[in-house]
């Protein structure tokens, strides 16, 4: 089990009609673990339906460790996470969170950083920009929101990053749209970072590649795991444990392994960290992760159980 930190909610700030910012402080009164720009924490929410694990970026400057701040957007079709944060949590609520993890870190070698955020996708960039300012490195932010009222952190951005910040308001007929072509005329050594819904991230990734960005200079974070195209149930034979388990169409392989009591380490659960990798002995894998390279995918001997599935009805794993 991963170690957890006991915290309580010290303050709640309504950023926009649908976004709240929560200030979390250690229950022990101690400083919280240091973190790097772009980090997130997993929050464990005790709901009637069981424990919900949700990931949120830390939005304050990495130099600050006497509290953590996260921002949560209330989703209309919330599966419980954001609704819980918005409706059940009040100042004083206690909960457990994970240690900070980072699957979306700043490149050390980049000469210039360009961030593209859609909606609540702004969150990981807040700690990144604070870090870059502290280091005197160059960056620019492109941020699309519905309107001025729905634009989380508008004041902070205007106050602190006025010159490096470009806003695009989709409900405002006078405002321009956020487009990928701005990435074209960037100097060599530029790295680009995207955070937002899957369609936006995919569109920007594809554009960046077509403009000549090498894969290593393209970074992204998705809100949710990419929806697998193949969602057929399948069987996995576990070679060492001599068992066969079935994976339902509404279930990930990781979830099926855990449900069957198989010890399976995992962390991000969105195919980004590589923790859940297992060896594949036979069968064809439909890969949906962003850890493996093209070559590793083609080799078909390892898969991320949190997102990837079987192409046909069966896989044999070395587990």
């Amino acid at each position: 089990m991963q170690p957890k930190i006991h915290v309580f909610v010290k303050q709640i700030i309504q950023e926009t009609p649908s976004v709240k910012r929560f200030v979390l402080v250690s229950k022990e009164g101690a400083d919280l673990p240091a973190f790097s720009a772009g980090s997130h924490v997993t929050t464990f929410l005790n709901t009637a339906a069981g424990t919900l694990e949700r990931h949120y970026s830390l939005v304050q400057a990495p130099a600050i460790t006497d509290h953590y701040e996260i921002a949560v957007q209330l989703h209309a079709q919330s599966q419980g996470g954001s609704a819980y944060w918005h409706h059940q949590v009040s100042e004083g609520t206690e909960l457990f969170i994970s240690y900070p993890k980072n699957h979306f870190s700043l490149s050390f070698r980049a000469k210039h950083h360009v961030f593209y955020a859609a909606g609540i996708g702004i969150t990981p960039f807040l700690s990144m920009m604070a870090e870059l300012v502290a280091q005197g490195r160059s960056f620019e932010l492109h941020y699309a929101a519905k309107s001025r009222e729905m634009c989380a952190f508008y004041e902070t951005l205007q106050k602190t990053y006025r010159d490096s910040c470009h806003l695009y308001l989709s409900a405002d007929p006078d405002s321009s749209r956020m487009r990928p072509d701005g990435m074209r005329q960037q100097r060599i050594g530029t790295h680009v970072y995207f955070c937002g819904p899957e369609t936006m991230v995919n569109q920007f990734q594809e554009a960046a590649r077509s403009y000549g960005y090498p894969q290593q200079s393209i970074h992204f974070e998705l809100f949710a795991p990419p929806a697998p195209m193949l969602r057929e149930p399948f069987l996995v034979e576990l070679w060492q444990s001599k068992r066969t388990i079935s994976v339902g169409s509404d279930q990930s392989l990781l979830a099926a392994l855990l449900a069957a009591g198989i010890k399976s380490p995992y962390s991000c659960r969105v195919g980004r960290c590589g923790t859940c990798a297992v060896e594949v002995l036979s069968g064809e894998v439909a890969h949906y992760d962003s850890v493996l390279s093209e070559k590793e995918r083609a080799a078909q001997d390892v898969m991320m159980t949190c997102v990837s599935r079987a192409v046909h009805n069966k896989l044999v794993l070395s587990l």
């Binding site: 100097r187 060599i188 960005y213 090498p214 290593q216």
Partner: protein
């Protein structure tokens, strides 16, 4: 990466050696820029400015004699070119400068990894550390 244009830097040796490559690039329909370099031009700001003003999508070729290759590669890296965005070709006899950490003198070597210093006789292992200031690889005395 999806190349948008080519930039080719070459010295005298590179000029004849790059014949085929230049034909190939010319046939590619992407813009090609060719610039001559010499040991002297390394220290001129024009070369630095040329590399630093390149845009994303530029693919860099270096075709130069060995002593010029490492300093040029370093300069390109400082400008922001990554391994995926350049190709380096050293030409002619492969000599490199190795700086003796014991007597602080410069040795001309080929590609040996261990040499004995021509001046003090110390045994030096040639590191991958290239000093821009000395324009040489650092030769460390082995710890005995």
């Amino acid at each position: 990466m999806q190349k948008q244009r080519y930039l080719l830097l070459m010295d005298e040796t590179g000029e004849s050696a790059s014949h085929d490559l230049r034909n190939e690039l010319a046939a590619s329909s992407l813009p090609v820029e060719v610039h001559p370099v010499t040991l002297e031009s390394l220290h001129r700001s024009e070369l630095t400015a040329l590399l630093f003003r390149q845009w994303i999508g530029t693919y860099l070729y270096l075709l130069v004699s060995w002593p010029l290759l490492e300093p040029l590669r370093q300069l390109a890296e400082d400008a922001g070119f990554s391994e995926q965005e350049m190709e380096c070709h050293g030409l002619g006899p492969h000599t490199r400068q190795v700086f003796c950490s014991a007597c602080q003198k410069m040795n001309q070597t080929e590609d040996e990894t261990v040499i004995s210093c021509h001046f003090c006789g110390e045994e030096l292992s040639v590191s991958e550390h290239y000093s821009k200031r000395l324009q040489a690889f650092l030769g460390y005395t082995s710890i005995r």
